[in-house]
């Protein structure tokens, strides 16, 4: 048991110091009926590192990693190239094995990178301030809605039909139990829904995703004005953070709150988690923001430093009156995000975004050239929707058998929308090669 450094002699000596004859005595407060004298049955005994690695690697080997095949999935999780430096740095024990910076004198490393993270998130979203992260984009979205309810003292949220259904469902779960209304529009592949028409005097916010889950990009300025006119907040959701390197940012379009998924920068696909929720807002709402905030200050010698601040919003002080119950968030994923974005910088982030868009345009052109395949979006970033002559789900499974992971069938996301089962979401990033795009087109043509 390599993780346990006490020896038998240590244990005996320590029990002597305590004045107990056995460790069992220390468990004397446990009701007799629940006490056990040995290991819980039904589980294996301890194993060496080699055996553990062998067993778990065997499970990994049963999967098809994205990098091993032509791969075009997106829908809220994107495969990007993460520079080696990122993973090297986040594995430094001083980052990996520290916790929430409760003692700022010995946590300046974490606090300073969180301050950099907050600044980067504010810059790329075009917002005034950002917090130190949420669990993921979907929980950030739900928290944004609840924050809008607090700010406006209203309780009816309008959710766009272009919102990722997992984000919609996460928000609806909170709506049911917290007690507010979340009106979800029908799936809207083209972004033609009339959200402004759904705002009334009881509407706390409109939640719209850009690019939408179908890939559609749109200008939200008019919607922002409509929200303002009726006293509702505009919440913009972004699931592909790299798009912020190319598109007019939500802040410039008039967003009040931005809830985004930051996985695309610095973080692997990880089969869905852990990811990192980005949360940005206008500064005037700072006291209603959920989660941790890092702020600048001075120490006793007058040197600049950082601390967690405005903690009275949080559960450990405000308890039942807290803005959110969130405690642990996504610290290390935020660090990965920050390092990746620091490496990219202004020039690199813009170029990465253009590269993604160009590859998607290229792929859209190639797919459009296939008979009976139609790209449905007029504007997109690195992901778009294609209409196929058959059920997308079946084709995706067929192509998977041929070693091509073609995209996400809309029916996987919206199983209830039977009229959309011929739609396929296809994403292209800088990791895709022209050969892979051709492999997808060839496989698709043959399958049709």
């Amino acid at each position: 048991m390599r993780y346990l450094p006490l020896t038998a002699a240590d244990r005996a000596a320590m029990l002597g110091a305590i004045g107990a004859s056995s460790v069992d005595e220390l468990y004397c407060d446990v009701p007799v009926s629940a006490r056990r004298s040995g290991a819980i049955p039904g589980l294996p005994g301890f194993q060496g590192e080699l055996e553990v690695e062998r067993a778990i690697a065997a499970m990994a080997a049963k999967n098809v990693p994205a990098g091993s095949v032509p791969f075009f999935l997106g829908a809220g999780a994107y495969r990007h190239h993460v520079p080696t430096t990122v993973d090297h740095l986040i594995q430094r024990g001083e980052f990996l094995t520290s916790y929430t910076p409760y003692q700022p004198e010995i946590s300046q490393g974490t606090l300073q990178y969180l301050f950099e993270f907050q600044t980067q998130v504010a810059l790329i979203t075009g917002m005034e301030i950002a917090n130190a992260s949420m669990y993921d984009g979907a929980t950030a979205c739900a928290e944004a809605v609840m924050m809008a309810n607090r700010v406006t003292k209203r309780s009816r949220a309008v959710l766009s039909g272009g919102l990722h259904p997992h984000y919609r469902d996460t928000t609806r779960t909170d709506a049911r139990f917290v007690g507010f209304e979340a009106v979800a529009c029908a799936p809207d592949p083209l972004g033609t829904e009339d959200l402004a028409g759904l705002i009334d005097q009881t509407t706390s916010c409109v939640v719209v995703q850009n690019p939408s889950v179908f890939g559609q990009v749109r200008d939200l300025s008019a919607l922002a004005a409509a929200c303002r006119a009726k006293g509702a907040l505009l919440i913009v959701v972004v699931t592909e953070a790299v798009s912020l390197g190319l598109l007019t940012p939500p802040g410039e379009m008039g967003a009040d709150i931005v809830a985004a998924e930051g996985q695309s920068l610095g973080n692997a696909l990880n089969f869905g988690g852990p990811y990192v929720g980005l949360f940005a807002a206008k500064e005037k709402y700072v006291r209603q923001i959920p989660g941790r905030l890092t702020g600048e200050t001075l120490d006793a010698d007058g040197k600049r430093g950082w601390v967690l601040t405005l903690s009275t919003r949080e559960q450990h002080i405000r308890r039942e009156k807290a803005t959110s119950n969130i405690c642990t968030n996504s610290g290390l994923c935020a660090l990965a995000f920050t390092i990746h974005l620091s490496l990219l910088g202004e020039a690199g982030f813009a170029r990465l975004a253009r590269l993604n868009h160009a590859f998607a345009v290229q792929l859209a052109e190639k797919l459009s050239a296939i008979k009976h395949v139609e790209v449905v979006n007029d504007g997109f970033f690195n992901e778009f929707t294609v209409r196929l002559p058959r059920r997308a789900h079946k084709l995706v499974n067929k192509l998977a058998k041929r070693g091509v992971l073609a995209g996400v069938p809309v029916s996987r996301l919206f199983p209830e929308a039977k009229d959309l089962d011929d739609l396929l979401l296809v994403a292209a990033t800088e990791t895709n090669t022209v050969a892979e795009m051709d492999a997808l087109c060839t496989a698709l043509e043959e399958a049709l």
Binding site: M1, Y3, L26, D29, R36, A39, I40, L43, P44, G45, V52, A55, I56, N63, V64, P65, P83, G93, E94, S98, Y99, P104, E105, I106, S107, Y113, F115, T119, Y135, D136, D169, T170, F177, V217, D219, L246, L269, G272, P274, G295, T297, G302, W306, T309, H316, R319, E320, A322, N325, T328, C333, L341, L343, L344, R351, L352, G379, F380, N397, L405
Partner: protein, 523 residues
């Protein structure tokens, strides 16, 4: 404020005499290995980039009329600059890898590196959550295997794997209770009983879901006051209590001796028993929560199962459920039959209970944390976990035995995996719990949790975990004894000035909160 009070442009000369070896202070403001590091935004070298990317093919934009954005304001840095920057920042952090981190209630145990290696296998890290299920059978198998461990260790029949952290797990568990009560619809149940010693997340969670939080006092033994609990619960036939949220072992580091009686009374009243599993490390492998009458409990994989705390996450908070609550789990869940593993993503899917309450986050849960937690569980095995919790409790009781004459203990009897002291013994010295914590920093330790639980004035909650050597504990004991002695012999000024040997001294949190500066801004 956007002042560059650090060394970049105008190096601050150290005040004379801060260190006998360099009475003049250094020219740079650095102190040997301790190097002042400005923000990345203050190191902008315009045009530089730390990632080489090809020139995008020249194609017309298809942005649907949305304009491409202008300058963002990010700095340009080459790769070596970035590596040095974050390496320097890392050295301003305390960490488990570097030393004893007895932060009570947080279980700062050793983080094995095999966990990190396995989580990065492309077969897990490079999997998209929406790939066809035929291409992710091993990932689903891993989730199912970890689920089996968690169910077996707790004796509970069902588990929800998707919650992203402990507080998220609390939400999940309390939502399941609400869903079950709504389904039963016997009578309105608004109240949730929460001991005053609870973690802040407990009342925050209950209140967020519309419950009324009713606080139960602690008794003189540091446990739930059983009479007060029964009075709050009221008549079992008519009570409006929905649940009790109880941490066990509790935040005073004590096992709730009346836990079975509490569970029975709660069940008799038709209410549910939520157990906050933050302190599971004291009993994992030794006591099954099911045997205590627990209906639902979250497990912090980043505490008990050694996944790294990462400076504040990511965590993972699977929730185990009793038979009564099992149908009311969130979506999605993993099921298997002879064809393999499947995901239940809607209430209509095969294997669904039909009563699942919905989704709590995107996708299926913190896969990267599941791999690490399973690697940990398998490494220890059932016998190793039994020994691990035993050693965690032994270490805490050893600190109690050795320090009990130097620091006052609010409660009697053996503790579980953490030991609670307070600062009554320092009364009159001018030294408080906060001062001891800050002095410990200068001694090379991360302080214990201070001023929590709230029920004890001047609380010091020390959780050594099982991964410390006896020698490390003995050194800590010597330091704690020395500090107590120093405090009692009239050196309050020494404590009030501490820490003095850290990258930064005490920081002005009042100024930070009065005029919040939450981001860097260009001048």
């Amino acid at each position: 404020m956007n002042s560059q009070t650090t060394a970049k442009d105008a190096p601050a000369i150290e005040p004379a005499g801060t260190s006998p070896a360099t009475p003049l202070g250094t020219i740079s403001g650095n102190r040997g290995l301790r190097i002042e590091e400005p923000l990345i935004f203050e190191q902008d070298s315009p045009g530089h980039c730390g990632v080489d990317l090809p020139e995008p093919p020249a194609l017309a934009l298809r942005l649907g009329g949305v304009a491409p954005r202008g300058r963002i304001g990010l700095p340009g840095l080459a790769e070596p600059t970035v590596v040095r920057h974050y390496t320097r920042l890392s050295r301003n952090n305390y960490a488990i890898d570097a030393g004893f981190y007895p932060l009570g209630s947080c279980t700062m145990k050793h983080n094995p590196r095999i966990n990190e290696k396995l989580a990065r296998l492309p077969g897990f890290a490079d999997l998209h959550p929406l790939q066809p299920l035929s291409t992710v059978q091993g990932a689903l198998e891993l989730i199912d295997t970890l689920a089996h461990w968690l169910k077996t260790l707790t004796g509970m029949p069902a588990v929800a794997m998707s919650p992203a952290a402990g507080a998220h797990g609390e939400l999940c568990g309390m939502m399941a209770i609400r869903a079950a009560l709504d389904h039963r619809a016997d009578r309105p149940r608004k109240r949730v009983l929460v001991p005053e010693s609870a973690h802040g997340t407990n009342p925050a969670t209950a209140a967020a879901l519309g419950f009324t939080v009713d606080t139960i006092p602690a008794d003189a033994r540091g446990r739930v006051d059983l009479d007060a609990f029964k009075a709050k619960l009221g008549d079992p036939a008519t009570t409006d209590v929905a649940a009790i949220m109880l941490t066990n072992p509790n935040t005073c580091g004590l096992f709730e001796t009346d836990i079975i009686a509490i569970a029975e009374a709660i069940h008799q009243a038709g209410a549910f028993f939520y157990c906050d599993g933050a302190n599971f490390n004291a009993i994992v492998g030794r006591v099954r929560p099911a045997d205590l009458g627990v209906d639902v409990m979250h497990i912090n994989l980043h505490k008990t199962f050694s996944t790294p705390h990462g400076g504040g996450g990511p965590g993972s908070g699977p929730v185990v459920f009793s038979e009564a609550l099992a149908p009311f789990i969130p979506l999605p869940s993993v099921v298997h039959d002879r064809d393999g593993f499947h995901l239940v993503e809607t209430n209509d899917d095969d294997g669904a209970t039909g009563l699942a309450f919905g989704r709590m986050k995107a996708f299926h849960g913190q896969m990267g944390m599941f791999v690490r937690a399973l690697a940990y569980a398998m490494s220890h095995g059932a016998d190793g976990l039994f020994q691990a919790s035993s050693d965690a409790v032994l270490n805490a009781n050893y600190l109690l035995a050795r320090l009990g004459s130097d620091y006052s203990t609010p409660f009697e009897g053996p503790c579980m995996h953490e030991v609670l002291f307070d600062d009554r013994s320092l009364k009159g010295s001018g030294v408080t719990t906060l001062d001891i914590a800050k002095a410990l920093i200068d001694e090379g330790y991360h302080p214990m949790t201070v001023y929590f639980p709230l029920v004890v004035h001047g609380a010091m909650l020390i959780e050594p975990t099982e991964t410390e050597t006896r020698a490390a504990l003995d050194q800590f004991i010597a330091v704690m004894k020395g500090l107590a002695e120093r405090a009692k012999s009239g050196h309050a000024d020494y404590f009030h000035a501490a820490p003095t040997l850290t990258p930064r001294r005490r920081l002005d949190e009042t100024a930070a909160a009065r005029k919040p500066v939450l981001r860097w801004k260009a001048n």
